[in-house]
Amino acid sequence: MHTNKTIQQELEAVSSFWNTIPSQMPYMVPTHYFESLPSMVRAKIETQAVYDELELVAPLLNTIPKQAGYHIPVSPVNALPSNAVAKPSTKVFTWPKLAIAAALIGAMVLVNFMYTSQKQAVDYSAYIGADHQQIIETISDSTLTAYLDVHEKLIVTPDVSDQELLEYIQSNN
């Protein structure tokens, strides 16, 4: 019922029907709504201040949604808790370690080179000191003839006459 008698009397003057009508509102309000409203309004004031500031400087930006366009890829690994995934061990190379490794590799390459070059070296002193006449006498005549047959063919020029050679020289001069 109305606390203000004047208002009640005014309605009764219009019609006695209003005596039967309760003046309470039937709508419900969420619990603790009025306790939390001042803080909600404070938050809105802050948001509004940010919006108004941008509206003065660059209003276009206020029309663009603020959601980030980036996406985090979805994979089974990402879905697992971090402690369930075994992390691969990472080796850290420091400069002193690298220098020692390089020196060792260099020494091994040098030793290998010296060893192999020693094995392949020709003993020229044996050739210089040899008695060539005696060596040739040990070789049979047939072997020598066969050698000369092969090597003479390599040395002899193709079948060109002296006349042809002379003409060729004269024409190129």
Binding site: V14, Y27, F34, K44
Partner: protein, 183 residues
């Protein structure tokens, strides 16, 4: 901030930079329920009311610096709330036209959609009857019937003469009575 402080003390606290927040919170706590019900009676839905009320209180924060104390703080806040509510209703009407939903009465439908709605109860029929009135007449009826606002204060709020408001209220009361009797 003490809720029982008078408006002058609350405004003085607001105008002091060190107590500005406290002064504003005091004003909000003092008037939030009255403003809430003023808006809710018009919009029916709590969600819509919450949105509009928050907008009203933000406007109060922005406007309090320039508030001239030649009108009552209460009346000034009611005026902001009334304007915001009527703007919201206009938007809802336009939205209904765009969605080709002209046949439905948005706010009467919202009354019926309330979880506790019971058309056999007089208290709910009264809400449906109020929703059958034009918005301005609803405002006048609500301010007088529920808020028990004096005509001179309502006149200041709605920029209408006291005589016109009184006629509008009586006319609204008769229409509501007819609606309920014929329901």
């Amino acid at each position: 901030m003490d809720l029982h402080l008078d408006d002058t003390s609350l405004l003085a606290a607001f105008h002091n930079q060190t107590t500005k927040e406290k002064g504003y919170n005091g004003i909000v706590k003092k008037y939030q329920e009255k403003l809430y019900w003023h808006i809710r009676r018009m919009l029916v839905s709590h969600e819509d009311t919450n949105d509009v009320l928050q907008m009203v209180l933000v406007k109060v924060w922005n406007g309090l610096e320039n508030f001239r104390e030649d009108s009552k703080l209460y009346t000034w806040m009611y005026r902001i709330a009334t304007n915001e509510t009527l703007t919201f209703i206009e938007k809802e009407k336009k939205r209904a036209i765009v969605s080709l939903d002209q046949d439905s009465d948005t706010f009467r439908d919202k009354v019926k959609a309330d979880a506790h709605f019971d058309e056999n109860q007089l208290i709910w029929r009264l809400q449906l009857a109020i929703k059958s009135l034009p918005e301005k007449q609803q405002l006048v009826f609500n301010l007088r019937y529920y808020d028990e606002m004096p005509y001179h204060q309502m006149s200041e709020l709605l920029d209408t003469s006291e005589g016109a408001l009184k006629a509008s209220y009586h006319h609204a009361a008769k229409k509501i009575e007819e609606f309920i009797k014929s329901y």
